[in-house]
Amino acid sequence: MTFSETLHQGLPQSAVLRRFAELVAPCDDAALEALAAQAAATTRRHFGKTMRLFAPLYVSNECVNICNYCGFSRNNPIFRTTLTLDQVEAEARHLAAEGFRAILLVAGEHPKFVSNTYLADCTRRLRAFVPSVSIEVAPMETEEYRHIVDAGADGVTVFQETYDPVAYAPLHPSGPKRDFAWRLDCPERAYAAGFRRIGIGALLGLAPWRTEAVRLAAHVEHLLKHCWKASLAVSFPRLRPAASGFNPQFPLADRDLVQLVCALRVAFPEIGLTLSTREPAHLRDGLAGLGITMMSAGARTEPGGYTGAGREALHRTERGKSVPLAAAEVGTAEATVQFEIGDPRPHSVVVARLRQLGLDPIWKDWDAAINA
């Protein structure tokens, strides 16, 4: 039974989930401090004094979906582009020169611009010099994923956005992404195709966070049982300002985010916990010591963000139709970001700070020979 089928029958019951619900219940400062101490010790025991680093590489910001909160949403009149293979390679070489040995290819959903063949070709290009290539793109069928696995990708990340189907529907009024269950079962299809790292998460702010957290934990528990050979990681994407101008109905406070990270760590000691540059520096530094095991650094959220690649193909879309740039925009405009970065520190500054915090930054934690 897939997770969407399981969830449709009601939230699963287990000792771990009951424990997790207690951990995310409202608590006073002393209880939060005790939870943080437990989380920190658990993280150190299982992951040591290390922090794995990765970089997102946006290959396209084209999108056919309307998602009310997303900067790439179809009807947003933003500057869009899709990188050529040479440009993807140039961006990746830039990141590799900075030290990154794990790269996450990110794209909006657009079958014409971002096909599985294109992603497989990108992966092949990168694998020549990047040991670990993952994708964060629109959900696919198992067979489509298999092409990308065969090209050498080892990880897939897909956020459910919200685990509440009632909240999900009005946020996704148009496009293939409307299908809640199809998206929810995506990690299981990816696993069946041979991906060995799976990342999930909820876009925090779309629904009351405690309810969301328990469903997320249920998803973790399901994947640990059914996709037992995959290395599982949870991300904490908290809604940031974007071109959509969307204001989250259920904003998550910093304190809530800390409680969520610590609760997941204590309930699931061995899973990876990932924090992106959506969050501000002080929060990332603090959470690095509590439960986070993987971080991006110096990240850009637009295609061509690292090298300026892709500007020659830049265009604006108006209600899904491509419109050439105005004369004044040619040569000056840049692709629009998916969301604003909360931690703008260069990667070198983040690395130095991690060392100050007593954490060894790990660039390479995978070898291409393993899944050759």
């Binding site: 004094k49 040995r101 037992w228 060894d360 995978w366 070898d367 020979a369 393993i370 050759a372």
Partner: protein, 274 residues
């Protein structure tokens, strides 16, 4: 006046002699400097390193430079196949390491479950057989399974490395009963690997006859890794000396006086029955 004691017997694996019976890992340390200091303090002579964290291209990648922090003249570098999910992947990694100029010794680790990192017995046996045929000195990481340990010895592994508890748990000799059988039956050195969280655990492992232990997490995540490495060194020596000397047997808990009808009473029949 104390009489000088002879040093403990050396550890011999595949014909090579080591004074130290403490093997160490290289993961989880807060910095390469802390790792180097801990290796030094531990007195170790065998250091294992995950190939997935190393640069095998020969280009000395400065961002995957773990090998550059370990002096190969001083330590035997024991590459491990952590990350491999099956025999084919492990064999491929081992070959790659050998062709990159690393010693042809391999710590065979195949754990398809990334959560508890428990080793796959079937794939481990398949890979061990293949690697032994190719001339590798194979030290397989296994669950504390005596039959598997024997099967691996039969295919020619140079040691067996059963776990005390799952990796990174620091829970000590949870598998003690099974480990005792493995040690009793072993024809190659038994190196107890994984789960040893305190020097007392390591000492106990040596006292029960393990030939060596491998410790990583407990040293790497200590507030002072070098100090903890030194503590493990002392514990391993103490445990080994105690084993070689022979521990006095302990009285069973709750031992009572002899029963009124002794079990061997039949040896002294009642006079009337003679």
């Amino acid at each position: 006046m104390t009489t000088p004691q002879p040093p403990p017997q050396p550890l011999v694996i595949a014909g090579r002699t080591f004074r130290s019976r403490l093997l160490t890992g290289t993961g989880k340390f807060p910095s390469p400097e802390a790792m180097r200091a801990a290796l030094e303090a531990s007195g170790t002579e065998i250091v294992t390193v995950a190939l997935r964290r190393a640069d095998l291209s020969g280009e000395h990648d400065p961002f995957a430079d773990i090998l550059t922090h370990i002096d190969p003249a001083r330590y035997l570098l024991l590459p491990n196949t952590s990350g491999a999910m099956n025999a084919a992947e492990a064999v491929r990694l081992a070959r790659l390491a050998a062709s990159a100029g690393l010693p042809k010794w391999i710590k065979l680790e195949i754990h398809p479950d990334p959560r508890h990192l428990l080793p796959d017995p079937i794939e481990t046996l398949l890979a061990a057989e293949q690697l032994v045929k190719e001339g590798f000195i194979v030290l397989p990481y296994i669950n504390a399974d005596p039959v598997l340990a024997k099967r691996l010895q039969d295919v020619g592994t140079a040691a067996v490395m059963p776990l005390a508890a799952p990796i990174g748990t620091n829970r000590g000799l949870e598998t003690r009963g099974q480990l005792e059988i493995i040690i009793e039956q072993a024809t190659v050195p038994v190196v107890i690997d994984a789960g040893l969280g305190a020097p007392s655990h390591a000492a106990a492992a040596l006292e029960m006859g393990a030939d060596a232990v491998l410790v990583n997490t407990a040293i790497a995540i200590a507030s002072d890794p070098a100090a903890m490495a030194h503590a493990f060194r002392l514990a391993v020596d103490a445990g080994r000396i105690a084993y070689e000397t022979g521990l006095a047997s302990a009285a069973p808990v709750g031992a009572k006086a002899s029963p009124t009808s002794p079990l061997t009473g039949f040896l002294r029949p009642e006079p009337a029955l003679r």
